[in-house]
């Protein structure tokens, strides 16, 4: 029987890991620097329109030794001028997810702001932090969080599906089904990360 997916959210799409990032739970043996190398900062060109950037942290990302332990990281150079919204989103990948630890540094590398763990929230199936830019912040550092790496989180996900099935020669019937699944994710040093810069939204 040919079934046509009409709408709703399929549980498969919710639970399928995004491809491509190998989870990493241990950084033993890695020679880590004492501080992030800001010269490697990737520029985030922004022209005032919503723009997204790949912020993936893979196994080959550089590492630093923090007070909490070794972490993988990436540095991004924030555009100067004006207030805009920064969204950092971490998506599940292969049953794992990166809990990003976010630092905003001044142009000389001093820490201006730290995005607290509680400020990371699930939006849909991804973890994200959403905050306004500050003029004095020149760099965004995305780190893994050694305090949680290796621990797991489970999330209950309810969803519905609608499918159309043909009946007879020209008829059809819409079949509605539901799903109630528990998604298990383990926090990793690596993960799929997206950074979006956008203008301040107009309230409705």
């Amino acid at each position: 029987m040919m079934l046509l997916l009409l709408g709703g959210v399929t549980i498969a799409s919710l639970l399928s890991p995004a491809p491509g990032i190998q989870p990493m739970f241990d950084l033993k043996g890695r020679a880590c620097a004492a501080a992030p190398d800001l010269t490697t900062g990737q520029s985030l060109p922004y022209t005032g329109r919503e723009t997204s950037f790949d912020g993936d942290i893979g196994p080959a990302a550089p590492c630093i030794q923090t007070a909490q332990g070794a972490v993988l990281y990436r540095v991004f150079q924030l555009p100067a001028g004006g207030t805009y919204v920064v969204t950092v989103t971490s998506e599940p990948s292969g049953g794992a997810i990166l809990l990003p630890h976010l630092l905003l540094l001044g142009t000389s590398g001093e820490v201006k702001r730290e995005i607290a763990r509680d400020d990371l929230m699930y939006r849909g199936r991804a973890l994200s932090a959403r905050f306004r830019s500050h003029a004095e912040e020149g760099y965004l550092v995305v780190e893994s969080d050694p305090r949680v790496v290796g621990t797991s989180v489970s999330r209950v996900v309810e969803s519905t599906n609608s499918m159309v099935a043909p009946v007879g020669v020209s008829g059809y019937v819409t079949i509605h089904t539901g799903n109630d699944e528990t998604m298990q994710l383990t926090y990793s040093h690596t993960g799929k990360v997206e950074i979006v810069l956008e203008p301040m939204p107009d309230p409705k």
Binding site: G8, V9, L14, V85, D118, D119, M121, Y122, R123, G124, R125, A126, R130, F131, R132, H134, S154, R155, V156, V157, E158, S159, T160, N161, V173, T174, I175, H176, T177, G178, N179, D180, T182, M200, P201, D202, P203, K204
Partner: protein, 239 residues
């Protein structure tokens, strides 16, 4: 009959409503240091809970199936609503108290500010700072049916779990500018990419509606906990 048709249409519309979120505006406490006291406006939320079966066979049979579903849902709502009435439960009052507690926990002065709402959604105009003595208002409005219990489908593998679906907006009292706006959904059925989603506590579950009613004290407590967790999330948004 027309009431049932309306209810069936409302059931169909809730998922559409859930998709129409406003823009998510992050709060920036550093740029709003003058906000020290927040008034929690009387929330816009239906007094009666909804106990929804999100998918079932009846939905496959057009208007007739929709009417049957609406009638069954109405009975569930009445029965669970009676449990809340027995406890003298007011969702608006409970949510307001939870929001005030959460704001205080995040370092604000907070108090309830009663307002009259003539229609659903965020208020179009706000009280003045002078008449309320607060620096900002937290305006909270239910998304669709707002709160209650929902099961994704039929069967014990798709149990009833509490849900709370709310939009929130922080408005500066002096000039009505929007400081923060977002959507927080405890146990959304179907997850959009933008709304803040709170996973339901896995222990808050009832295999079917009869089980829920048999454990109504627990169901009542779990619903209160879901409301409290949603309010706490909103407090986190403005810390």
């Amino acid at each position: 009959m027309s009431r049932m048709v309306g209810r069936a249409a409302a059931m169909a519309a809730v998922w559409v409503l859930a998709a129409c979120a406003g823009p998510e505006i992050p709060f920036d406490r550093a740029s709003a240091p003058e906000i020290k006291t927040i008034g929690v406006l009387t929330p816009d939320i239906p007094e009666r809970p909804t106990v929804r079966l999100a998918s079932d066979v009846g939905q496959s049979f057009g208007l007739v199936g929709g009417l049957i579903d609406a009638a069954m849902e109405s009975k569930r709502n009445d029965r669970f609503g009676a449990v809340l009435i027995e406890h003298n439960f007011s969702v608006g009052s409970t949510l307001s108290q939870d929001l005030v507690a959460s704001l205080k926990a995040h370092g604000y002065g907070a108090k309830q500010v009663p307002v009259y709402r003539s229609k659903s959604g965020f208020l179009k105009s706000y009280p003045t700072a002078a008449e309320t003595g607060v620096d900002a208002f937290l305006d909270v409005s239910a998304v669709g049916i707002g709160y209650g219990y929902v099961a994704a489908g039929i069967g014990s593998s798709q149990p009833y779990r509490p849900f709370v679906w709310l939009d929130c907006k922080l408005v500066r009292a002096s000039d009505a500018s929007v400081l923060m706006q977002d959507r927080v959904m405890y146990n959304p059925v179907g997850e959009g990419p933008k709304q803040i989603t709170i996973s339901p506590d896995p222990t808050y579950q009832f295999a079917d509606f009869d089980t829920l009613m048999a454990g109504q004290e627990q169901a009542y407590a779990d619903l209160q906990a879901a409301l409290r967790q949603t309010a706490n999330q909103m407090g986190t948004l403005v810390r």
